[in-house]
């Protein structure tokens, strides 16, 4: 059944799947957002414990989604995996490093004998929530601004910038996208915590949280605006029917117009995020995270679609246009994509049990009793 699909269709399906995983990851960065909010919203040990324990029940989902994002790209677009990880070495290493230190922080922060003290683990969480997300944003930014690599006849990468990927963080566009993601994660973090924690008896804590949600949206807006305007007016990396890459004026604007559903996702996503903030930051609702989360997924999808679909090079090379990667020249073979598509059929099942467990576990809000439990973080 799937085996009879054209290679191009499979390549598009896999870009869709990678985009879904990437977009879900952006939603799940509410964990990182919550981490970077910790010191701002939680003023005493109880409040801190509530935030950490609330995020601590979800952090592995975000982490796992990031790992799957890497794995899916490896399986479906190995040329990207090899080119980007082997080329933009330092940006990826630093991102990974922030996730390594995150992974132990929840479990070890409050445990006796933790060697470094609780504060160190909180700093780890802050680094992951800020630098980690900023660099991920910068790396995704290179999907539009391009990178510095040349591929030889054997598709082996030579990176032409001595900064090995860190140069991505010195582009205003990439940096803006990174900062937008950092602030958006904080908006989502506040929404999630409002939804997840029982604030009875802690009105001041709740007020700070709701305020943080609103303020961080305000902080995110200028960066979002810069990214959006730039996208509309910047040149993009188009690919013609012969696979030749060239710089095309207003490429992403053209993509938006040629793929109206992408424009729809982008606009609907932004409206949903704003509505989530209105519910959480300006009103007293607790369900803002669902709007903010869905909105973020929509915006994420729009970003990935813009980069990969519409005859666009999703991982362009600034220094050698013809080395640029498209979903067509960077993919696995028909056989592998077919096998992987069969495997991907379990994804709805995975999403279903995650949603079920989430609902089951969060039907009762997190309260003081939970953080005094022996298992608490």
């Amino acid at each position: 059944m799937i085996g009879s699909l054209d290679l191009t269709v499979l390549q598009q399906i896999w870009w869709l799947l990678v985009s879904v995983v990437g977009a879900l990851f952006l939603f799940l960065t509410f964990v990182q957002g919550g981490q970077s909010l910790l010191w701002q919203v939680a003023k005493n040990d109880t409040e801190k414990a509530l935030v950490i324990n609330s995020l601590g029940r979800k952090w592995e989902l975000t982490f796992t989604t990031l790992v799957l994002f890497g794995g899916a790209l490896f399986a479906a677009f190995p040329k990207f995996y090899a080119t980007s990880f082997g080329g933009a070495y330092w940006v990826w290493i630093l991102i990974l490093f922030t996730f390594i230190v995150q992974a132990v922080s929840y479990e070890y922060r409050k445990k006796p004998g933790n060697f470094f003290g609780a504060k160190t683990y909180e700093v780890f969480l802050l680094i992951n929530g800020s630098v980690g997300i900023l660099l991920i944003g910068a790396a995704v930014g290179t999907f539009f601004t391009g990178s510095n690599f040349i591929l030889n006849d054997y598709n082996q990468v030579t990176w032409t910038s001595p900064l090995r990927g860190l140069e991505a963080a010195f582009s205003v566009f990439n940096l803006s996208l990174g900062l937008f993601l950092v602030f958006n994660a904080r908006v989502l973090g506040a929404m999630y915590l409002i939804n997840n924690i029982d604030f009875i008896g802690m009105p001041e804590f709740e007020r700070r949280m709701r305020r943080a949600c609103f303020i961080n949206l305000l902080c995110a807006l200028p960066f979002l605006l810069y990214v959006l305007v730039s996208l509309l007016i910047m040149k993009g990396y188009g690919v013609d029917e012969n696979g030749v890459i060239s710089l095309v004026a207003y490429k992403y604007l053209q993509n938006l117009l040629a793929m109206p559903y992408t424009l729809g996702l982008l606009l609907a996503g932004l409206v949903l995020v704003v509505w989530g903030v209105v519910l959480t930051g300006l009103k007293t609702g607790t369900r803002g995270i669902w709007f903010g989360g869905l909105g973020t997924v929509f915006v994420g999808l729009a970003v990935f679609f813009l980069a990969g679909y519409g005859n666009t090079a999703f991982y362009p090379s600034k220094v050698d246009l013809q080395s640029s990667l498209t979903i067509y020249n960077a993919s696995s073979t028909h056989y592998t994509l077919t096998a992987m598509t069969y495997v991907a059929m379990v994804i709805p099942f995975v999403l279903a049990y995650i949603a079920y467990v989430w609902k089951l576990m969060d039907s009762k809000k997190l309260d003081i009793n939970d953080i005094s439990d022996e298992k608490a973080y």
Binding site: T83, I93, V104, F115, N152, T333, T336, D373
Partner: protein, 510 residues
């Protein structure tokens, strides 16, 4: 091809060894303890005995401490193939990426989702669902082992693929062949059941400490029963799957087998060296005795590896120089054919570029004759195919001897548990006290045999290590090597001190 910086390759190898070995300090415990905790909780749910709930929660706490650092050390491995081995990743991404992605989809999410229920769901979900979640963490952990071992096994025995000269890549031809190769089956079973031994011995070590101190005696004794039964069964299975691994090695990686057996000259009725001291100065072909001292069991190697005492087991020298009688081609000849394959591949690509299809066809036909020897073309001398014999030999023997010791430990613990006088057997308890640390050594040694024993190949016979490395400076890899070495060491210290404090604290509710 771009020039290869061999210093970088060495550091990238060192980094992979470092990160994989650190990761492997924690994984066996996760694989086995997840089941042990599930057994304990099952008893609690079936009996309703609150003491079993306390026992379950105690071991679960230790499981969680170990799990966190397992994740921290694991993420880098997923991406290290790209950062340090990008040429490899591109050339085999079609095949190698798939199990990694599947691991994420089918295993990691099971672990991540149900881990939260297992730890925080005691009062939020029903008893039955909680138990189900605990089992799902065990299943998820072991499933993730399956998929990463599918990937590893393919490097050891590349099946289900074809080399595409146009893209110069290995491409997947048969997913099932990759999934069900004999190496996968042997490796997955041997790795998981031997990890169950490690986890069982962890329980026994901690329980022995309690019993020697006279603390939490009832909890310790109950835990010992679970651990010694599970450990005993796992030891039996480890022996069986270990034999299976040797059979598979004889078939697919004879050089590895010869190396960990210290067998230089092939023979029929080949024996196994039970204990031996290698001659450090031994070089292939120098006619000196490979051993300074040895105790050999005649015929056993032929029997175990080929299930026939009369079977010929090739030695390092047969595989290196060839053995016409046994129809084994020497590495020299393989290298010539491999070099010809590389030349013809380059010629083919050049001809395609110039649009001369006849010439391309000619090169392709010539390439196909020699393509199975492609990897040999990148070697500089025949001796490159011999892995470090001493490291492999000693690691293998340490592993096997320790496995024998573990069998005795499990038997003794079970026996005295049945007689209900375990706490009086101080010598047995002292043996139990050190057994987990020995199990870690045995487990690491097993991986050293598997990985050092297949040098110099990143893909057996197809690609030597240096061909797969990234085009990055040695300095960068060196820097990240130390970055990970320092970070992981500090995290390990934190993990150990936390673990010790928790063990000293003991279970609550007793």
């Amino acid at each position: 091809m771009t020039a290869i910086d061999l210093t970088m390759v060495k550091w990238a190898q060192a980094q992979f060894a470092l990160t994989a070995m650190y990761h492997w300090l924690f994984v066996p415990l996760t694989l086995g303890l997840s089941f042990i905790v599930a057994f304990m909780e099952t008893i609690y749910v079936r009996t309703g005995d609150e003491r079993w709930r306390a026992i379950t929660k105690f071991w679960m706490t230790l499981f969680g401490i170990n799990f966190a650092i397992g994740i921290a050390t694991g993420i880098i491995l997923e991406f290290e193939f790209g950062t340090n081995w990008s040429k490899y990743s591109w050339m085999v991404g079609d095949i190698f990426g798939a199990p990694l992605a599947i691991e994420g989809i089918v295993a990691f999410f099971l672990e991540a989702t149900f881990f939260a229920v297992m730890f925080f769901g005691w009062d939020r979900v029903s008893k039955g669902f909680h138990l189900f979640s605990t089992w799902m963490v065990a299943v998820g952990s072991n499933l993730s082992a399956l998929w990463i071992l599918v990937a590893n096994s393919w490097m050891q025995y590349p099946v289900g693929m074809n080399f595409n000269p146009d893209s110069a890549r290995f491409e997947m031809q048969n997913f099932w062949e990759i999934l069900s190769s004999p190496v996968v089956i042997a490796k997955f079973t041997h790795t998981t059941v031997s990890s169950f031994i490690v986890a069982s011995l962890f329980v026994i070590t901690v329980a022995s400490w309690y019993l020697l101190k006279g603390r939490h005696v009832e909890m310790a004794k109950k835990s010992v029963i679970i651990a010694s039964v599970f450990g005993l069964l796992s030891t039996g299975m480890t022996a069986l799957t270990g034999d299976q691994s040797a059979v598979v090695n004889a078939e697919t990686q004879p050089m590895k087998l010869a190396s960990y057996e210290g067998l230089y000259k092939g023979t029929t009725n080949a024996g196994i060296v039970a204990i031996g001291l290698l001659n450090h100065d031994k070089e292939p072909g120098d006619n000196s005795d490979p051993f300074r001292f040895e105790i050999k069991i005649p015929g056993l190697l032929s029997l175990l590896a080929k299930h026939d005492t009369n079977a010929f087991i090739p030695g390092i020298e047969d595989l290196l120089w060839g053995n016409e009688e046994q129809n084994i081609m020497g590495v020299d000849a393989k290298m010539k054919r491999g070099q010809q394959a590389i030349t013809d591949l380059a010629g083919y690509k050049e001809a395609v570029k110039n649009g001369s299809s006849d010439e391309a066809e000619l090169y392709l036909t010539r390439f196909e004759v020699n393509q199975d020897y492609l990897g040999y073309g990148y070697l500089t001398k025949p001796e490159d195919v011999v892995p470090p014999v001493e490291t492999t030999f000693y690691s293998f023997h340490i592993m096997v001897i320790l496995a024998g010791f573990f069998l005795l430990v499990f038997l003794a613990f079970l026996y005295y548990s049945m007689k209900d006088n375990l706490e009086q057997k101080k010598l047995v308890l002292r043996a139990g006290l050190v057994s987990f640390f020995l199990a870690m050594i045995a487990s690491q040694a097993g991986w050293i045999v598997a990985e050092v024993g297949r040098q110099p190949w990143i893909i057996q016979d197809m690609m030597p290590i240096h061909v797969g490395a990234s085009n990055i400076s040695a300095g960068s890899v060196q820097t990240t090597f130390f970055m990970f070495a320092i970070t992981f060491t500090l995290l390990l210290l934190a993990e150990i001190t936390i673990m010790v404090k928790q063990i000293k604290k003991g279970p609550r509710g007793e």
